[in-house]
Amino acid sequence: MARVVVDVMPKPEILDPQGKAVTGALGRLGFTGLSVRQGKRFELEVEGEVTEDRLADIRRAAETLLANTVIETFDVRVEQPAEAGA
């Protein structure tokens, strides 16, 4: 079964209080010089072949439900199985 990954991130101009809190915690732990923005990763197991039509469908799903495009951007990509590399 193929896997499609949808990454959702808050838009750069939108305040990200969670990312800010994580950034602060990292600093307190001594991991300095790191600035965090926190998003979401969705893993979609897709039945059948991942065709262009299927991907277009998934992009529509991401735009409809997974992301709120008023405040977030999203990115859809097919995750290649490790053994099929090369």
Partner: protein
């Protein structure tokens, strides 16, 4: 006959009963509605109450927005039916694109629960006509994700068209752009706000009754129309 005002209960709604009570106090007939049914039971207006519908999974209001009842609410709202969204209800209205913008986590990163001073900026909506313009009121505010955001063009349009309905006074409690606490759609039938007028309708259970006009406004609006 008293106008009928429906209040939707979603799984995770908290303030549906207070909203039903507020409707009754304002002289309208409260009608419970259920998220899984697309039947609006002949109501003349709808309230989406506060709470954590569908557990706030994904984003606040993101899943409720696609519930069966919301299909009917969106159709009715677009046809002019008065719809009020309070807190989680405001989030649902934004997710449903009945109102512009979105609500994000408070900039203070904590849940906020205060008696909030507000200024009523617009009395031209179905839900605020019983206030006087510029009236200062105090209403309960309790939310974790109440920061109102929208792009500059949208904010300018809301201000220019008099669609900012209520604004926070004093320190901004949640990072909302331009201190916006509530907005209306172009037609003025759909209003969303973060503060909870339904908690401020009875001196026995709240610090004041400044919330009553939200409910009496719509009752009068509907009675005048019949």
């Amino acid at each position: 006959m008293a106008p009928k005002v429906g209040v939707v209960t979603f799984p995770g709604s908290l303030d549906d009963h207070d909203a039903l009570r507020a409707v009754r106090i304002a002289g309208a007939e409260p009608v419970p509605l259920w998220h899984a049914s697309d039947d609006l039971r002949g109501v003349d207006a709808v309230i989406l109450p506060g709470g954590f519908s569908y557990g706030d999974y994904l984003r606040c209001g993101a899943i409720s927005r696609f519930s069966p009842v919301m299909g009917s609410v969106i159709t009715a709202a677009n046809a002019g039916m008065p719809v009020l969204g309070v807190c989680n209800g405001f989030q649902i209205l934004c997710e449903a694109h009945l109102l512009p913008g979105a609500l994000i986590r408070n900039h203070v990163r904590t849940f906020v629960c205060v008696d909030q001073r507000l200024r009523v900026e617009s009395t031209g909506t179905a839900w605020t006509s019983d206030y006087s313009a510029g009236q200062e009121i105090t209403i309960v505010l309790k939310n974790g994700e109440g920061g109102y955001v929208a792009d500059e063009d949208t904010l300018d349009r809301l201000e220019g068209e008099g669609r900012v309905v209520v604004r926070y006074l004093g320190d901004n409690p949640n990072g909302s752009f331009r201190d916006i606490a509530g907005i209306a759609n172009e037609r003025g039938n759909v209003v969303g706000l973060m503060p909870h007028p339904e908690h401020n309708v009875d001196p026995l259970t709240g610090p004041g009754t400044d919330g009553v006009p939200f409910f009496s406004s719509v009752a009068n609006f509907l009675s005048a129309r019949v």
